[in-house]
Amino acid sequence: MDIFMENILDHWRNPRNSGSIKNPDISFFDNNPLCGDEIKMQLIIKDNIIQEVKFLGRGCSISQASADLLSNFVKEKSLEEIKNIKNNQIIEMLGIPIGPVRIKCALLALFALKKGIYLKEGIKMEDNDLNGNSQN
């Protein structure tokens, strides 16, 4: 099997950042009913910087590995930086081509994270609002 796929499977089998946070500043659950992927992203924030991030979920390797890779990536980043993460960055992290059928799996964690942050600021975001990023 492809070395990039091996990397995804490794994150799927042994996620580094799965678990729950007690008293998180942000906790957001999102799902993709069509595929049956579920992700809950939890964050501890200090001075607008992410101190700690954990995710809990079930679903396909791409949805779960992207949540783990994204969690690694966002540690110590500012909320503004996270809002500016492009959809393509997730695909680059995964390192394999993602077709139109699996793109929802790949972006589930990023969307959950962004939705959680926006909601904390009082803005309700939906997939449609976030999809625009895919062109960037």
Binding site: L9, W12, L34, G59
Partner: protein, 396 residues
């Protein structure tokens, strides 16, 4: 027994060694069907029931013949066959035409194993009318549980699937239809998963309606069937209004056309009807008893071979229609499907358009293989061997 190797040669899409195991979603199409559609467009494409020129007459004759062929196939009268887009539209036709008459204390009974197409229309009609929406549960084996208790004197409509598209369960619909009638209710059968697989006789079943799709039985997409008993159809209001469903239109009044045209407003799907007629001729040549026996043989063989894989969970009862839903450890169905796709094997993963059922199994998604006449034992072997490879690669 059917010669699947020979049958396979009739299906151009299978020439590239595709192992197609998603037949419960849609079937592939043989040359005979593709050529009949091609012949229609190349030789006699015209609108039906309108022109009096030669090709319009031929198109009209074929379109009407298609009704007769479908009628004979399920032992109905031609004027009881309404062409729709698919099973979903057939059920919506009944739901809107009959269902909107429901009142507050009336009940509609469906089951937990319905496809969304026979679940959502009734759920929504009940919300609109205030009628009670009752859902028959299933037992741990995947059979309907205590359905007798759900059908009561207040039940006006019982709409049940003949066979589950997830579990493969074949329901005791004759008993259910009887029970519905004893309580004065209308019985509607979703035959999407059974009409392609075995002989369904509406007179023998005594169902009031039967809905099914052409595309799961070798015909094109976009042609579906609603069978309805003529005395009920006559008393029903049309679902769509417009062209061809009228006998006479005045400024303030319209007299509707005879059956079945009263329910077929607008220019119909003539190519679909011709394709469906040809598909039925193809299946009848094979013999529906042979179709059933062969798919049963393949399904049993697949169930046996799947036992070689530890940690696999197969859903549904032992006696089943030609499909198997399963889960392999924590391997997500889409990962299984994507892995097998690399080996040119097409299987399904997801909620199968039956979310209430799949969720009741404690899952958000399952994987499914479903068989048809052109699948071979080698197809099953390739699938099982591929699944073993996936098990190794994902270490589940």
């Amino acid at each position: 027994m059917l010669n699947a190797d020979k049958i396979k040669k009739d299906f151009p899409i299978l020439k590239n060694r595709l192992v197609y195991l998603d037949n419960a979603a849609t079937s592939q199409k043989p040359y005979q069907v593709i050529n009949a559609i091609k012949d229609y467009y190349e030789r006699y494409n015209a609108n039906v029931h309108r022109g009096v020129y030669k090709i319009a007459v031929e198109a009209t004759e074929k379109y009407e013949e298609a009704h007769s062929v479908v009628a004979k196939f399920i032992n109905a009268f031609p004027n009881e066959i309404i062409f729709t887009r698919n099973t979903t539209e057939s059920i919506n036709l009944v739901a809107y035409s009959l269902g909107l008459k429901l009142k507050k204390d009336d009940e509609v009974v469906v089951s937990l194993m319905e496809h969304h197409s026979n679940f959502v229309p009734w759920q929504q009609i009940c919300k609109l009318t205030g009628a009670k929406f009752k859902v028959i549960p299933i037992d741990e084996k995947g059979n309907l549980k205590d359905y007798e208790r759900y059908i009561t004197k207040n039940t006006k409509i019982v709409s049940i699937t003949h066979a589950s598209n997830v579990l493969g369960t074949i329901n005791p619909i004759k008993e259910i239809i009887n029970l519905a009638h004893e309580n004065g209710a209308i019985a509607i059968i979703d035959g999407a998963q059974t009409v392609p697989h075995f002989s369904v006789d509406v007179k023998d079943l005594d169902c009031d309606f039967l809905a099914f799709s052409g595309h799961k039985m070798l015909a094109p997409m976009g042609i579906g069937v609603l069978y309805g008993k003529q005395e009920i159809l006559k008393s029903m209001k049309p679902f769509n209004y417009g062209g061809d469903m009228i006998r006479e239109v005045k400024i303030n009044e319209t007299i509707f056309n005879d059956l079945p045209w009263k329910f077929e407003a607008g220019t119909p799907n003539v190519e679909g009807a011709i394709g469906l007629m040809e598909a039925i001729k193809y299946l009848e040549k094979l013999g529906m008893n042979n179709v059933y026996a062969y798919v049963q043989y393949l399904t049993k063989y697949a169930l046996e071979r799947l036992k070689e894989i530890p940690n696999i969970k197969v859903y549904g009862p032992e006696k089943r229609n030609g499909l198997i839903s399963f889960k392999l450890g924590r391997l997500h169905p889409h990962d299984a499907s994507a892995f097998l796709d690399e080996l040119n094997i097409a299987i399904r993963g997801g909620h199968m358009c039956a979310q209430p059922l799949v969720n009741s199994l404690g899952e958000i998604a399952v994987a499914r293989v479903s068989f048809y006449i052109y699948n071979t034992k080698e197809d099953v072997d390739k699938f099982v061997d591929g699944l073993k490879k996936a098990k190794g690669a994902f270490k589940v």
